[in-house]
């Protein structure tokens, strides 16, 4: 470009110069006036590195600004942009168009979550169930009152739970779970994996307390170890492993 780009141009996404394009089908639904979901189709140019989120933002910029989508970090860290992409729950910012190997890309709101509008879903229940399992260290003393001023851990102790602390609360696991598909009261893989994260932490003393919370008719026993949660998790959390290890404690297989 000969001229210095204007501020408006600069602040936008990189203009796509590619000759390749895909058909992006976006689910549109406003629970306040629509009786059913409908799809709008857009031709969107893309590069090898273009993500599905960038394609959606391209649509918002050039074709239809009213498409509702939630995002923030654009780097698989905030957990906002989960949606069903070509049939499976994925993060839009962490899924490249080129990796989907399809000329048509369909984006829909995540299943098993109430729809706010279009691609944005409500996370209240996810946060409630997350909160329910007490996602913090439980113990009587505090770091301030102990002599050492910190609770020491060996690298091996850290290894026990660090994988599970990667959870970004994106909800993809809850969307893939077959129990979640029919049971509105199920605590869900996200919260159960977090229960394991704290139970397995050597600094935590709330194991009995937490196991009691998940030992419920809509708690851990509703998990059938289908493993879909682990297959869709974008952070390698492996909720299915955490849940079975947790159940191992409860059944007395592990201590």
């Amino acid at each position: 470009m000969a001229q210095t780009p204007s501020l408006a141009e600069e602040s936008g996404s990189t203009p796509f110069s590619s000759s390749q394009s895909i058909t992006l089908r976006i689910a549109r639904y406003n629970p306040q006036h629509d009786s059913a979901k409908s799809f709008m189709e857009f031709q969107v140019p893309y590069e090898k590195w273009t993500t599905v989120l960038e394609a959606i933002l391209e649509v918002k910029k050039h074709f239809d600004h009213s498409v509702a989508v939630r995002y923030s970090c654009r780097q698989a860290t905030c957990g906002s942009c989960g949606m069903i992409i070509n049939g499976k729950p994925r993060l839009a910012c962490f899924t490249k168009i080129s990796e989907l190997n399809s000329n048509v890309i369909t984006v829909e709101p995540m299943n098993n979550f109430p729809i706010i509008r279009d691609l944005a879903v409500k996370f209240e229940r996810l946060f409630d169930t997350h909160h329910k399992i007490k996602p913090y260290l439980i113990r009587d003393d505090t770091e301030i009152t102990t002599n050492t001023k910190e609770f020491l851990q060996t690298p091996e102790e850290l290894e026990q739970y660090i994988q599970f602390s990667n959870c970004i609360k994106c909800g993809l696991c809850n969307s893939a779970c077959p129990t979640m598909a029919t049971d509105s009261s199920f605590v869900g893989p996200q919260a159960l994996a977090q229960a394991y994260r704290y139970v397995a932490d050597s600094r935590d003393k709330g194991k009995d307390n937490r196991l009691k919370i998940i030992d419920d008719s809509h708690g851990i026993w509703r998990c059938h170890f289908a493993g879909s949660c682990s297959q869709v998790c974008p952070k390698g959390v492996d909720p299915a492993m955490g849940i079975q290890l947790l159940r191992g404690y409860m059944l007395g297989f592990r201590s």
Binding site: V121, T182, A226, P234, Q244, L245, G248
Partner: protein, 144 residues
């Protein structure tokens, strides 16, 4: 909240075996075989109770299992029984935290350790053993 509100996938989503690999196929087969065995079990009690009607009643009922349809149903029952038992042992071990991998710092592309080859082999073994048992059953029943 109603079903529509939560946009739940429902039973169709729950039983869909196409999206999440062999584990979800096993999940579906486990449910179907469990329910199938339950139905067979109830039918079996009913059938064997016909002995209360004496030998004639018993023989009349037994004749049903000698028909082609009877043989086919029994073959399916054999397959369900073998799959449900073998996969049931795998699932019970998994539920106890056996063979689901060890927690470790994950590296991209994040292959989940719980979806490992041991469990996949367990599922394939259950399916193959069920098929072999069913074929053996068919050979015995139709080979008379």
């Amino acid at each position: 909240m109603t079903n529509q509100d939560e946009n739940k996938e429902g039973i169709g989503g729950m039983i869909n075996p196409r999206r999440y690999g062999i584990e979800r196929v096993a999940y579906l087969l486990m449910r179907l075989s469990g329910l199938g065995l339950l139905a067979y079990f109830i039918g079996h009690i009913y059938e064997t109770s016909s002995i209360l009607k004496g030998q004639i009643g018993w023989n009349a009922f037994l004749a049903i299992t000698q028909t082609n349809a009877g043989h086919a149903i029994l073959a399916i029952v054999i397959a369900m029984c073998v799959f449900h038992t073998v996969n049931g042992i795998r699932v019970m071990l998994g539920h106890g935290g056996v063979g689901v991998g060890k927690p470790a710092r994950p590296d991209y592309p994040y292959i989940p350790a719980s979806q490992n080859i041991r469990h996949k082999m367990g599922i394939y073994s259950a399916i193959i053993l069920a098929a072999i048992a069913m074929m053996y059953g068919l050979a015995v029943m139709f080979g008379e």
